[in-house]
């Protein structure tokens, strides 16, 4: 052990002394940076192109296909998305005349993602508390059962769940869309349990001695102390739910309950093959992604750092 440590130290010393001070131009390093920049460009530039398209007019797009700036700059596409433009005006700008009830879809998406996130995170936190801070027989067996459900592919439960929601008369209702996600997600339970396990028992035991019951401990000690992981989990869940497509497509495919992802699909398929409303579609796409983009700008670091955790720990 001692030899290893001293060897380590000397080798680090040597390497930092030699090359770092006057680092000559290093082709391999430069090449590596080019690759990194290329990867970033491939990830980010498509979004610029979407923005550029959304600010162009359809009739000008075809002739100015490769111009880096918007072709015939105008906000018509956004007006169309927000319902401020009539079908006639849209068609005059080269659109297809298909419309998107953005505000209704937005309301539905906010409700769907918001309610499922709040419910799943809260109830999963309760379960995680039982799986980490309480002692009871069969705890590990029941926990394994929850974990096992992570293996069941969503499509498999989607068919019977659809029948259940249909039998309950909840097709095309917000409740029907929300119910399967409301009570927990296996991942959320797993995620929070990891954090709860590592919390110190001392505060909790002191509170216990003062006669606090579990509900109070949960609400006043565990939840506040785990605010950071809970916020991260809520963020990830919300983004995931915001992007969900399959279940809302099955259960909420009517205008009044349609969410943005489903609405975008419909809007796209409404465009007749001949002349899709590209700028309108791209404006709608960008506006639908905007909340996630904003969350990302605000909490990017948190999201990035949570990826390592969710995968490995």
């Amino acid at each position: 052990m001692t030899t290893a440590t001293s060897a380590t130290r000397s080798s680090r010393f040597k390497s930092s002394g030699g090359s770092k001070r006057r680092r000559p131009f290093n082709w391999r390093r430069a090449g590596a940076w080019v690759l990194v920049i290329l990867a970033v460009a491939v990830s980010v530039l498509p979004f610029y192109w979407v923005l550029r398209t959304s600010l162009s007019s359809n009739s000008a797009l075809a002739s100015n296909a490769s111009n880096l700036l918007p072709a015939d700059f105008n906000l018509g596409a956004y007006k169309r998305v927000f319902g401020l433009q009539t079908a006639q005006e849209a068609m005059a700008e080269g659109g297809s005349g298909a419309k998107i009830d953005f505000w209704i879809y937005l309301r539905n998406t906010v409700l769907f993602a918001g309610i499922t996130t709040a419910g799943a995170v809260f109830f999963s936190a309760m379960a995680a508390y039982a799986f980490s801070r309480l002692r009871w027989r069969g705890r590990n067996a029941v926990f394994s059962l929850f974990l096992a459900t992570m293996m069941v592919p969503p499509i498999f439960t989607a068919l019977p769940n659809f029948l259940l929601i249909k039998n309950l008369g909840l097709l095309n209702t917000l409740l029907g869309m929300v119910l399967p996600y409301l009570f927990m997600t296996p991942f959320a339970i797993f995620f929070l349990r990891q954090f709860f396990l590592n919390m110190s028992r001392e505060v909790e035991e002191a509170a216990m001695l003062d006669g606090a019951r579990h509900l109070r401990i949960f609400f006043q000690i565990v939840l506040p102390n785990a605010a950071a992981p809970i916020a991260t989990l809520a963020l990830l869940t919300f983004i995931g739910q915001w992007n969900e497509y399959f279940w809302p497509l099955l259960v909420g495919n009517q205008e009044n309950v349609r969410v943005l992802t489903v609405g975008l699909g419909v809007f796209k398929s409404q465009s007749p093959q001949g002349a899709p409303d590209w700028s309108g579609l791209m404006a709608a796409t960008l506006v639908s992604a905007l909340p996630v983009l904003l969350l990302f700008i605000a909490f990017g670091k948190k999201i990035v750092n949570s990826i390592g955790f969710s995968g490995i720990k």
């Binding site: 060897a7 080798s11 590596a32 940076w33 690759l35 990194v36 990867a39 491939v42 990830s43 498509p46 192109w49 398209t53 075809a62 296909a65 490769s66 109830f123 999963s124 379960a127 039982a130 980490s132 309480l134 002692r135 009871w136 705890r139 974990l147 293996m151 592919p153 969503p154 499509i155 498999f156 439960t157 068919l159 019977p160 769940n161 029948l163 249909k166 399967p180 009570f183 797993f190 349990r193 396990l197 001695l209 579990h214 992007n243 497509y245 099955l250 699909g265 590209w278 796409t285 639908s288 992604a289 996630v292 990302f296 670091k301 999201i303 990035v304 990826i307 390592g308 995968g311 490995i312």
Partner: protein
């Protein structure tokens, strides 16, 4: 996913051990059972588990042995659905197409992500760069699909314009049979590449520095170090990535549903889209359920085989 579980559970148990294990003598309050409180706390989650996971799983298996068109009651037909599936050319086509999609994804995504992770580890650790690479992953599949549907448009899409400018023939990315599936796979790779790279990057950072320093002292070449140290130590992460990628890609749906709808002809009719069509468009729930059972079995098998052969549970680190 199983890797996650197995590896996550172990240190966790260790951590709880001294706190309230049976061995540790604890003053005051005695190992009383919290069963009643625990039941209260897991009640909502339990409700969700039973109603929306366990019962549907059993019901799904039951339905796969029935003929059921939503109206009326399911009629027991034994293994008839499975027999029909075995002779269903559309099923075999879907299986083939899906496999093709999965293979392209695994190779492309793992290789690109591994390369990116190494670059991030060695050259650019910045959160900004990692964030930019993660951006596509945070977008909905539907958004990624529409975005590329536009970029890859045959007539005026920017990609085809560039191809054209290079003097090459335009590519009908979504409209030709040979390109439909590779295109879907490329879109998925674009969306997941950064996320996968981040997973591997986290794995790279977990490798203790001194292992490399010892190897350096022993005069190992960078390539040898990579082969003999990085790859073996990275194995659990790679296994996790492979399992997640394969299981995820087998369930491709959103991109296909929004862009090609299974076409042209049957070129992109992946399994999940076929299940969706049989169950919901043709309202043949028994057949759809049987297809879903098969998909479920395939996924379980793939996960099992990968765990078994890649020994994902063990890390060479300990």
């Amino acid at each position: 996913m199983t890797t996650t579980t197995a590896r996550g559970a172990a240190p966790a148990r260790k951590a709880t051990g001294p706190g309230h294990g049976t061995a540790a003598p604890r003053p005051r309050r005695r190992p009383r059972s919290d069963l009643k409180v625990a039941l209260l706390f897991i009640a909502p989650a339990m409700l969700g588990l039973v109603v929306f996971y366990l019962v549907p799983t059993i019901r799904g298996i039951y339905l796969s042995f029935t003929e059921y068109n939503i109206l009326g009651t399911p009629k027991w037909v034994g293994g008839a659905n499975y027999a029909a599936i075995a002779k269903d050319p559309l099923f075999w086509n879907a299986l083939g197409v899906t496999t093709q999609y999965v293979l392209i994804n695994i190779v492309l995504q793992t290789v690109l992500a591994l390369g990116l992770a190494l670059l991030m580890h060695r050259v650019a650790k910045s959160t900004f760069i990692r964030g930019s690479l993660l951006l596509p992953y945070l977008m909905a599949n539907v958004i990624a699909a529409l975005l590329w549907f536009w970029l890859l448009d045959y007539q005026i899409g920017i990609v085809n314009n560039i191809i054209d400018a290079l003097g090459l023939p335009r590519v009908a990315f979504f409209g030709s049979e040979e390109w439909a599936i590779p295109t879907q796979a490329l879109i998925n790779t674009w969306r997941h590449m950064g996320y996968t790279a981040l997973l591997i990057f986290a794995g790279l950072q977990a490798i203790p520095q001194h292992v490399y320093e010892v190897a350096n002292l022993d005069g190992a070449s960078p390539f040898q170090t990579f082969r003999k140290i990085t790859m073996p130590l990275l194995r659990p992460v790679i296994v996790l990535v492979l399992i997640v990628t394969v299981i995820g890609s087998f369930q491709v749906f959103d991109t296909v549903a929004v862009t090609t709808q299974g076409g042209p002809i049957n070129a992109s009719r992946v399994l999940q889209f076929y299940i969706y069509q049989r169950a919901f468009t043709e309202s043949d729930f028994g057949y759809g359920s049987a297809l879903a059972v098969i998909l479920f079995v395939i996924l379980a098998l793939v996960a099992f085989i990968q765990m078994k052969f890649l020994k994902g549970n063990e890390s060479d680190l300990d």
